[in-house]
Symmetry: C2
Subunit: 124 residues, 2 copies
DNA sequence: ATTAATTGATTACACATGTAATACAATATT
DNA sequence: AATATTGTATTACATGTGTAATCAATTAAT
């Protein structure tokens, strides 16, 4: 059931809008993306159409316009993308990614503390 | 200088071979990938050519065959891919990825310890 | 009612990618 | 020398993606 479709970079931006607020009309999505991108409205409509075809989203006729909503949850997609990314780059092993990134990422003391708390929980 | 070229999924497999042993002839790469993939030799040669065009690898004429070698390091590429992945999926924030994954990944006690050590170092 | 504006559907087009096959040139074999 | 083999270069072709424009239908305005 939960076959997550391939979602491209540009499509992902559209998904983020719908995950944050749905249902949304095409115009609402277009408006939401106006700041972050300089895509023409037609471009965004194309992306919406492709996402419908991929069954990542769907819509219902609300009055005269379509009201789009996601068919897949952000969580599922993030998990799926992350898994395939890990597989691709790190051969599926999570730890090397962590080590690699912990070493160079700037994390605030609070964040470090939070992460340590999570680790503490896990070791119980 | 360090403009990392876009490396596709299939190309990445070829890069991994060259990172693990270079220089390698086309045939050596083909052989190395025989187990992991069912790509035809011609396919792998295409990938090698594309990587040369992208300036991800280069070659020198060794005797009668080309000896391919990477022009970009694995570390650079991993970092670059990871950064763009993070940007795409997590809006560039590293912590949510960590939190998300720490929660569901199975890590051995040793791994947890190692990660905590890294975190300890960082908080100094 | 005719025209303009809006929204959704269809079409476009270049470049990337997966996945090779064919052409060509140099070398090895008979 | 003619031919077969092998390695490289060029070409192929479908699908995905970025980035829209045009077409068509419906609604709004005059």
């Amino acid at each position: 059931m939960n076959n997550i479709p391939q979602i491209s970079d540009a499509e992902w931006e559209v998904m983020k809008v719908l995950w944050s607020k749905s249902p949304s009309s095409a115009n609402e999505v277009i408006e939401a993306l106006e700041d972050q991108t300089d895509w023409k409205p037609k471009t965004i409509r194309t992306l919406l159409n492709r996402l419908v075809q991929k069954q990542a989203i769907s819509y219902s006729q609300e009055g005269k316009v379509y009201a789009y909503f996601p068919l897949v949850s952000e969580d599922e997609c993030v998990r799926s993308e992350t898994a395939s990314f890990l597989k691709r780059i790190y051969g599926g092993a999570f730890k090397p990614l962590l080590v690699n990134f912990l070493k160079e990422e700037k994390l605030s003391p609070e964040e470090i503390k939070e992460l340590k708390n999570i680790l503490d929980d896990k070791s119980k």
